[in-house]
Amino acid sequence: MSNGTKPPFFMNRTAFTRARFIIGFLAVPVLLYLVYVISPYAQAFSIAMTDWRGVNAEPGFVGAANFRRLLDDNVFWTAVRHNGLLLVLMPLGTLVIALFFAFLLNAGGPRGVSGVRGARFYRVVFFFPQVLAVAIVAVLFQQVFRPDESGMLNAPLMALGLEPVGFLSDPGVAFWSILGVLIWQAVGFYVVLFSAGMASIPRDLYEAAQIDGATRGRLFFRVTLPLLWDTVQVGWIYLGIAALDVFAIVWVMTAEHGGPDHSTTVMAAEIYRNAFQYFKFGYASAMGVVLFFFTVAFAVVALRLSRRERVEF
């Protein structure tokens, strides 16, 4: 509206009311955001250089000592490795399953280009876990995964005479149980997302490809996937953020909050544990600072990779 050639706002009444309006509308949201979001991030950097321990203790400056200690902290690096694994496996598993189901729902019908019967019903059911709180899902699966015949999954195994699986008690299995629950909850969202994308692909493209004798597999890889690529990338970034954000499922569902034997712990759990169970505020903040840079690196890589040419249709 206004530009540089106009007189400064205080010279002119309408410009003054306009400026007053802008400031009035921005003041509260910006203030809240600065106090509760920006200032904690900024403070994290200075607290990370202190030996602050205990709620009422005085912080003392220790420089980079916390960061040096972090280098040798095996539990922390285990947590980082788990988040790294999740960053790759959770999007991969979720996207592959979701693309498969979305394609079946939209092009799995008897005539090849139409949806299956009951597609709407399946979408409604698949999406439901998404609206449940992660903490609730964690408690639910804690019961499903029980290690004896009272567990939903172990009961049929034991009825068949097999050994029960320690879904959460076996350090070699627990991480995969976490991954399974994360994918279980996420798939429906991406089925709905990709279905919406697939619905906007013109029918003629499928018909034409089919007349050329394309099989369903070719239809998927040559028509659907290239035209859906933008949405898939958005999904990848969302899931990547979610993978870095994992906390409740680990903290609530696993033994010892990330156990057994640190086999499921993640970065968020280690920060929480150090800050609010050990009260090592300086050390926990140092972890936050390191992870801040990991997150920035992820964001940069994600933005770089997503700058791929679009297919117009």
Partner: protein, 310 residues
Amino acid sequence: MVSRTSARTAEVGLTRGQVRERRRLRLGPLSGLSHVALVVWTVLVVVPIVWTFLASVKSEDEIFGSAWSLPATPRWDNWARAWDQAHVGRYMLNSVVVVSLGTAGTMLFGAMAAYVLARYRFRGNRAVYLLFVSGLAFPVYLALTPLFFVVRNMGNLPLIGPLIGLDSYGGLVLVYIAYSLPFTVFFLSAFFRTLPQAVAEAAFVDGASHSRVFFQIMLPLARPGIVSITIFNVLGQWNQYQIPLVLLSGQAKDKWVLTQGIADISTAAGYDADWAALFAALSMAILPMLIVYTIFQRQIQAGLTAGALK
């Protein structure tokens, strides 16, 4: 190439119906398999939830017996115990209070900021917008320790301190609003930018003030976007677990939200835990979501996926 051409010539001279029939035969068996795959995933989603509901009316012995047995007689007293003794009723009420205030505040302040940033040009506009949007990339837990102390220090303010400090609804609500702003501002400013200028211009000519144009013209026009993002924020805040865990301590159990309360029943539970009540509590947490989702599933799906499709 050869097979493709031959497939095409083979279809020449056939009626439309016959061509269809051929395609159906070629793709036929797969469509049967697709139903199998879809049914398998439906079972994976539905069974754990139905199993939880069943367990919520089992006796303790039945729960520790075989997992797939049905309850002999439904024990509704499990639900009564969960509601009263495990305080699920209290936690649910707390969640309703905090999420109502949190979402209302988020929508009001988010819409105000988004509107100004989307439709007014002024120095620093871009910087403020980027400041908000940069918050999208960073998980809350990175700054968890300082956040705890920020809220604690707010508690020391004169007069309003006790209302917005640790262990208060107000503190949690303000933090929810602040952390919901990045996505809300990002989404709504994109939405406000698409609205036509003509109506607003006409109103300005008629002498309407800036805020009047916002509340009476632009906000109603932005209704579809507001609805989507409101659903997004209600669910996001309802499902939050880590922030209440930090800000509402064990000394303020009467203010705990639902996720916190249910997780606590499960993690703090030792050998003498009331497992039947735990299943009942779980069912109580799931049931309202199931009802709301069944009624509003179209809006909820649209609301949650809207951000990804922008």
